[in-house]
């Protein structure tokens, strides 16, 4: 698949410089892309990736301007062409896929029309022929009933389909280069993998080159032939994927990949139980009063002292609700939360306030979690019994911040530093358990690595337990001793990190882990046989049917799955799984945990 000998470059960029006012965002960049090559472009936020991507199409977002350089697309310099000439090249020769598929489609036009419009702009087609071609494109991308889909409006199709429409639009005129800027940011892992599989397959089929811009090294390891790393507007590394991951030469990539080389945390031996949730359930009644959204459905788990339980699942799986129910920030409907042997649900308001201090929570959005009107000192003092400047300095030092930040307001700090303040506030209360609700999702890759290190370091020093909630499987793997996989409010599998990450047993856990893009080019997803693939998309968590929620998508489903509620059963290796066929094959003990 990889073009070995160097054919004449399809795209050749020389000394490209883009600036916003006086600030240079892209500094004299040189790069070449061969025909049919898939190139990954990575770098921290603000490194100039997106600006470079747009400049390749001869575009700059105002007030940005392309100051110098040339962008040769099969010989012709895009930057010296007139605007109409350039416009005719865009779409026909270079396609663009931007973030957020849904927002990129016009809500007022049928999707067939929108694809057709792109085709008509670039190919000598009339209306009917363009529409027919649009339907063909949709069919080739695996949409069933493409004639009907072409007449749908964007709000009528699912997110997964919207992405395929975007691919169809970008590849419709057969461009030889496709520029994709973070095409999957904000998507769930299974949808992300589906999308990238689709993109990879289509690009390979039509022989398009792809420049894939992403902050996720996992995506690059799995789909790209070559890697470019940007830092401060310059390209600091350019290497073949395998060699890049074996020995990254630049500091940025080395830092990001450093976690991969650190052994995951070792579980403390026979830890005392800090928290136990039994049959924890929470449902929300929707506006119309009749429909019920089952956010958490009989969750059972145990967290030991000094131990981290990773809670993974896609959006809407109820992870966050579980975390909030533990502190009774949301009142659970049913079930018990035993914290250090005491039932949180039966605590009086005064007791609850005392108990809560022993469980702290760190939120996803670091700025939102800090009162914007308070200084860092006040924010941390709030967690202390009485204001104590020395203790505030000590806590700030703990989380790697200069004590001088105490007099600043949260807005003056970077997102990573804000999250450190949140963590400092959490540990100030000397909790036994910290609920970490996606603490790294809003951060740049570099800040994420630092926070993961910090959390591991603090756990080693202070011995606190974590409930680590995340959709980012890599981070969970770096932090957790045990892992629970949630699907539509239920824990479908819970076991040790090795059990879940090396050999998941529940069909959903298998599919989720198969969609996990590890930054390891020797385990590429595109090389694996897709045995764990699930049909369709996650159903809405409203008014779920009896029986297994996965039955409709599951390759292992038998007739009884559709009618019987699946109990959580313990397998022989100690893990628990909510799938009767798999459990029976395992010869599980016949002690179904009360469902």
């Amino acid at each position: 698949m990889q073009p070995e000998a160097a054919p004449p470059a399809l795209l050749s960029v020389r000394d490209l410089t883009v600036a916003y006012g006086g600030r240079t965002a892209v500094q004299a960049v040189n790069l070449d892309i061969a025909p049919g090559e898939i190139v990954g472009l990575t770098g921290d936020s603000g490194s100039g990736k997106s600006t470079l991507g747009l400049a390749l199409l001869g575009l700059a977002r105002p007030p940005g301007r392309i100051l110098a350089g040339e962008v040769r697309l099969s010989g012709a310099d895009l930057l010296t062409l007139s605007e109409p000439q350039r416009r005719s090249l865009r779409g026909r020769e270079v396609g663009l896929i931007v973030q957020n598929p849904r927002a990129s489609l016009s809500p007022l036009h049928m999707i067939g029309e929108q694809i057709g419009a792109v085709l008509k702009a670039h190919l000598p087609l009339d209306g009917a022929a363009a529409d027919a071609r649009a339907v063909d494109l949709l069919r080739n991308l695996g949409l069933n009933d493409p004639e009907r889909r072409a007449k749908a409006y964007p709000h009528e199709i699912s997110g997964g389909m919207a992405q395929r429409v975007l691919i169809a639009m970008a590849l419709g005129a057969g461009p030889r280069l496709l520029v994709a800027d973070e095409p999957t940011s904000g998507l769930d892992v299974t949808i992300q993998a589906q999308f990238l599989d689709e993109l990879w397959k289509t690009a390979r089929d039509v022989g398009s080159a792809v420049l894939l811009m992403t902050q996720d090294l996992g995506i690059i390891a799995n789909y790209c032939d070559r890697v470019l790393v940007m830092q401060d507007g310059a390209i600091v590394a350019d290497d073949v994927t395998k060699r890049f991951f074996a020995a990254p030469r630049d500091v940025y990539s080395r830092t990001l990949l450093s976690l991969e080389r650190v052994a995951p945390p070792v579980a403390p031996g026979d830890a005392a139980i800090v928290l136990e949730a039994r049959g924890l359930s929470k449902s929300f009644r929707l506006r119309d009063g009749r429909k019920v959204l089952q956010a958490v459905d009989h969750a059972d788990f145990v967290i030991g002292r000094g131990e981290t339980l990773g809670l993974v699942g896609e959006s809407g799986s109820g992870k966050t609700t579980v975390g909030r129910c533990l502190l009774r920030l949301i009142e659970p409907d049913a079930g018990e939360v035993l914290f250090e042997g005491r039932d949180m649900g039966r605590a009086t308001p005064a007791e609850l306030r005392r108990l809560r201090k022993r469980i702290q929570i760190v939120f996803q959005d670091p700025l939102d979690a800090l009162d914007p009107r308070w200084t860092i000192r006040d924010i941390i003092n709030e967690a202390l019994e009485r204001p104590d400047a020395a203790r505030v300095s000590e806590l700030l030092g703990f989380v790697g911040l200069d004590p001088a930040v105490a007099k600043l307001k949260p807005r003056a700090l970077s997102a990573g530093a804000q999250q450190r303040v949140s963590i400092a506030r959490a540990i100030a209360a000397e909790p036994a358990l910290i609920v970490l609700d996606e603490p790294t999702s809003a951060l740049t890759p570099l800040a994420r690595v630092e926070i993961v290190r910090l959390l591991r370091d603090l756990q080693a020093r202070l011995g606190s337990s974590y409930l680590f909630i995340s959709h980012d499987l890599s981070t969970v793997e770096h932090l957790s001793h045990n892992v629970a996989v949630m699907y539509l409010g239920q824990i479908v599998e819970i076991g040790t990190r090795e059990q879940i990450f090396r050999s998941p047993r529940h069909p959903y856990a298998k599919a989720l882990l198969a969609a996990h893009l590890a930054p390891d080019p020797s385990r590429r997803r595109v090389d694996r046989i897709e045995d764990a693939k699930l049909a369709g998309e996650i159903p809405s968590p409203i008014d779920l049917p009896r029986g297994c929620y996965l039955a409709g998508r599951c390759p292992e489903a038998v007739a009884s799955c559709r009618t019987q509620l699946q109990p959580l059963r313990t397998l022989r290796d100690g893990r628990q799984i909510r799938c009767t066929p798999v459990a029976e094959r395992d010869g599980a003990k016949t002690d179904p945990v009360a469902a």
Binding site: L329, R353, R354, D371, A412, L413, G416, R420, R425
Partner: protein, 302 residues
């Protein structure tokens, strides 16, 4: 752990130019300051006694072409005829003196009424946002009821019941404007109480009332404070309106609404000045406060 995070410079990336809005905002600031200054010292710097008639009744203002000469004479303190810049009214009172003395009534009433309704409204709005649902519903429906009542009727009833005093007028206007602040604060409270730092304070074992007063309310005040400036402008208009219908301050207090009402009869006879100048004063003041509020809002949003 060892590395130290350097704080990012706040606002460094927020240098977006807003020339036109800034011009309006500066004008607004000027008017607001001028009105506040006149509220304090207006009656003292008035060239004539605002309550003692002059010898000239319905003297028109000087012709435009004479204004530069007269201005020069008054600046150089040269001996001259008495000048009535805005003319005199049917009682012989100097209109210019009364226009610059009037903020002591108009602005003071508007300011007082808004301070009362801001305090009351934001506390009620906070309660409506954080207390039990039925308390919230009660507060909101009461606000609806108050707002549904025609202002002038309320004003006249209250004035009839309690007499024409500044206190009564302040109360009438406060009653009128409280629902606005209740509504604004409540909707912002509903947003702010969902924020992470509120849950974080809860997780630290803080009481709900303490969280509401220290975290939720201060962060929910911005829209109400911006509204404060705009509403003062309208309250000035309303104060004048109440005087116009006879439910406001007592004549001969210098007050723009009273002056317009007094001059209204003479407009048909071609004597326009007794009403025009106080009318302009109201317009400029209301506009100034609105521009000021608008500028604040933009700054807040930026």
């Amino acid at each position: 752990m060892s590395e130290v995070v350097v704080p990012r410079l706040a606002g460094a990336d927020r240098a977006v130019s807003r020339p036109r809005a800034d011009w309006l905002f500066r004008f607004g600031c000027l008017i607001v300051m001028l009105s506040l200054v006149l509220m304090v010292i207006g009656p003292w710097i008035a060239p004539y006694d605002v309550g003692r008639p002059t010898d000239f009744i319905l003297e028109p203002p000087p012709a435009l072409r004479d204004v530069p000469r007269l201005l020069w004479l008054s600046i150089t303190n040269a001996p001259r005829e008495p000048v009535y810049w805005f003319g005199t009214d049917s009682a012989g009172l100097d209109i210019f003196s009364r226009v610059i003395a009037a903020p002591r009534a108009d602005v003071a009433i508007a300011l007082g009424a808004n301070l009362v309704s801001l305090t009351l409204g934001s506390l009620l709005g906070l309660a409506a946002g954080v207390a039990r649902p039925w308390i919230g519903a009660l507060i909101m429906r009461t606000s609806d009821l108050v707002q549904a009542f025609p202002v002038f009727i309320t004003g006249m009833i209250l004035v009839t019941l309690a007499g024409r005093s500044i206190g009564t007028i302040i109360l009438t206007l406060a009653l009128l404007y409280t629902p606005i602040y209740v509504r604004l604060t409540r909707s912002e409270v509903l947003t702010q109480r969902q924020r992470g730092f509120v849950d974080a304070a809860r997780a630290l074992g803080r009481r709900e009332a303490w969280i509401a007063l220290t975290h939720v309310l201060p962060n929910a005040m911005a829209p109400a404070l911006i509204q404060f400036s705009v509403t003062i402008g309208f309250a000035i208009l309303m104060t004048a309106g109440l005087s116009f219908v006879g439910a406001g301050v007592r004549p001969p207090t210098p007050e723009w609404g009273l002056m317009i009402a007094a001059g209204a009869d003479q407009i048909v006879q071609g004597e326009w000045w007794p009403s025009l100048f106080p009318g302009l004063a109201i317009s400029i003041t209301v506009f100034g406060y609105a521009a000021f509020g608008n500028g604040l809002e933009r700054r807040h949003a930026a």
